[in-house]
């Protein structure tokens, strides 16, 4: 009996690592495809050999200064959104929890907008992502305070709607007060989310903050599994729930805030990906974290590559594409929840 249970556990663990390996391979392939796809015809082979030889030719410059940052940021932001979505769903034990729906992204956008248009972003480099993180942190804390533990779907969504509209209104206010008369016009495009023409500087800016966020989120995997047994059981198993919440909230804020600060709000990734992958990891929220991150990165890169291949110019905004994929998904999810209720 015990040996049978152990055998099942071993088998499910090996299946989990196979899944991780498969997703990692897909992510690598998608990153390579994203680098290869672009608007101008670029001789990749020549560009790579020029770059490796240290020759700053035009193809090498385009590869390193444009294609590579775009692919890397796509993967980083996608991973952040995926892992944060899975973590929020685990923490709030609610399938609709997602950074965009819950207003964390728009609060992060508010933080970034304030920092950018007040001129702080020019004053010191990390100000922009830190502004985004502060906004995201505020929203996450507020959500948690409003909902407490084991929140019902209704209360959660209402809190999300409230935070979304409040953050939106505050963003408009900040734009009204901004010294740049065209700020409101610019922000419309930015809020739709895009990876176009970002630079390596952006990657270095957000990478350490995102890594820290991912570390916090991934380190809470076992505790998150324990939480599925209920708070009291988890506590009796020796998990410190206060510390768990702090790690999840801080980690999600770091990852989402830094993402939104450089790419604008890209919705639905954190909603769709955990749902697709949950059955594959045996519905264990701890195991869902890493695979959702990888899946989020793949989805974001697929969307960003697709919009460059589509014959629509100027290119669609990335947030629009993910919404086109994600919104029908959300509708189906809601109708399923209603049937189950």
């Amino acid at each position: 009996m015990t040996s049978a249970a152990t055998a099942i556990a071993v088998e499910s663990r090996s299946r989990y690592w196979w899944l991780v390996a498969l997703l990692s391979a897909m992510l690598l392939a998608m990153t390579a495809i994203s680098v290869a796809v672009g608007y101008a015809s670029l001789d990749l082979g020549a560009a790579i050999s020029d770059w490796l030889a240290g020759r700053a030719t035009l193809p090498a410059l385009v590869l390193v200064e444009l294609r590579l940052p775009r692919a890397l940021l796509g993967a980083l932001v996608g991973f952040s959104l995926g892992v944060a979505g899975a973590a929020m769903q685990g923490l709030l034990r609610n399938p609709l929890a997602e950074p965009g729906l819950l207003g964390i992204s728009s609060a992060a956008a508010f933080g970034a907008v304030v920092v950018f248009y007040s001129g702080f972003a020019g004053a010191f480099l990390l100000a922009l992502p830190l502004g985004g993180i502060a906004g995201a942190m505020l929203a996450t804390l507020l959500l948690y305070a409003l909902n407490g533990r084991g929140a019902g779907t209704m209360a959660l969504i209402l809190a999300g709607v409230a935070i979304n509209s409040f953050a939106g209104a505050m963003t408009s206010l900040a734009l009204n007060l901004a010294p740049n008369p065209y700020a409101a016009l610019e922000i419309v495009f930015w809020l739709m989310g895009s990876l176009a023409d970002r630079s390596l500087a952006h990657v270095w800016l957000v990478l350490p903050l995102m890594l820290l966020g991912w570390g916090l989120l991934l380190s809470s995997a076992t505790a998150l599994d324990g939480l599925t047994l209920g708070e009291d059981t988890a506590r009796s198993l020796g998990f410190d729930l206060g510390w768990l919440r702090a790690r999840l909230i801080g980690g999600a804020a770091l990852a989402v805030g830094a993402s939104v600060a450089v790419t604008g709000a890209i919705g639905f990734v954190g909603l769709v990906v955990p749902h697709l992958l949950r059955p594959l990891v045996g519905h264990r929220p701890g195991r869902l974290l890493l695979v959702s991150g990888l899946g989020g990165a793949i989805l974001t890169l697929v969307a960003d590559t697709a919009l460059r291949l589509l014959p629509i110019r100027p290119e669609l905004k990335l947030g629009v594409v993910t919404a086109l994929i994600g919104a029908p998904f959300l509708f189906s999810l809601i109708s399923r929840l209603r049937r189950e209720a």
Binding site: A56, E65, A178
Partner: protein, 296 residues
């Protein structure tokens, strides 16, 4: 409140509502005629501001827009600062009791509709798409302001400068590309295209098949084979997301292999007399060896 007072309020409300209903009716606009030489001119558009400031008597100008008072956006900011500003709102405009209001064809549409309705003499000006249009607009504006001689003088000055600049153009026709905030470029059939041609350049965006305004990816900018990259900047402007693309590290590194020319947006946003300054700046920047400043 007595019943009578309440009734009066209700009547007023109804009257106001019907007034709005009439306003919404397109045929009801009354085109009032301005005097031959208006003395209380209110301009509602940054671009008409510039022409009014150049052509009218300063005492005859009652108000210009607040945008024109910022030297980073506007070419006549110094003159504009001595004149009260408006934000294009009806109440502000009416408070100046204008005998001529001037608006742009694409801005402050509600204000324009209401001003027409209350019978304020009003003229609208579009955006010229070539140099001939710029000159025609100057003549039209000068006539409207009752200053035809000043308009004639300004047009003659433009023609003289253009003729002088035309002599400085060499035979080499460098390929130029304009990069504006948000990654926009300017192609065929636009005033900027004509400016580039007059400066002796070939507009690469037109060859890439871009008509009028269009977005261009930075990698196309890098690999497009341009000799000159014209960066449309606003010096010392407030923080702007749209300008981020002009500060992309790639552009700094392109400076080694092609010439970067910073051109302040205000010289050609308005399709006014300042476009001649833009042509001169472009020729200055490409005629060696003087003035090779690289942008920020």
């Amino acid at each position: 409140m007595t019943i009578r007072a309440a009734l009066r309020t209700a009547f007023r409300g109804a009257a106001l509502l019907s007034a709005f209903a009439v306003m919404a009716w397109p045929g009801s606009a009354i085109a009032a005629e301005p005097p031959a030489k208006p003395r209380r001119i209110v301009s509602l558009n940054m671009c008409t501001d510039e022409l009014v400031l150049r052509l009218a008597d300063p005492e005859a100008i009652a108000s210009v827009t607040w945008l024109s008072q910022d030297p980073r956006n506007a070419n006549m900011a110094e003159a504009a600062r001595r004149i009260p500003a408006n934000h294009g709102l009806v109440e502000q405009v009416l408070a100046f009791r204008p005998d001529l209001a001037i608006a742009g064809s694409f801005t402050t549409r509600n204000t324009v509709g209401l001003l027409k309705r209350v019978g304020t003499p009003l003229r609208e000006f579009g955006v010229p798409r070539d140099l001939a249009g710029v000159k025609a607009q100057i003549a039209e504006m000068a006539a409207l302001l009752g200053e035809p001689e000043r308009g004639q003088a300004l047009i003659e000055e433009i023609d003289t400068r253009l003729a002088r600049l035309a002599q400085r153009i060499g035979d080499a026709r460098p390929k130029a590309l304009v990069l504006r905030p948000n990654g926009f470029t300017v192609g065929r059939g636009s005033l900027v295209d004509e400016i580039l041609t007059r400066a002796g350049f070939v507009n690469l965006a037109a060859d890439l098949g871009i008509d009028n305004y269009g977005q261009i990816a930075l990698e196309t900018v890098a690999l497009g084979g341009a000799d000159i990259l014209i960066l449309n900047t606003t010096e010392g402007g407030p923080p702007s997301l749209a300008h981020e693309i002009l500060n992309h590290p790639l552009i700094g590194r392109l400076g080694d292999r092609l010439r970067l020319v910073a051109l302040p947006s205000k010289l050609w946003t308005c399709a006014g007399p300042a476009v001649i300054d833009a042509i001169e700046l472009l020729i200055d920047a490409t005629t060696p060896p003087r003035d090779q400043r690289s942008p920020r």
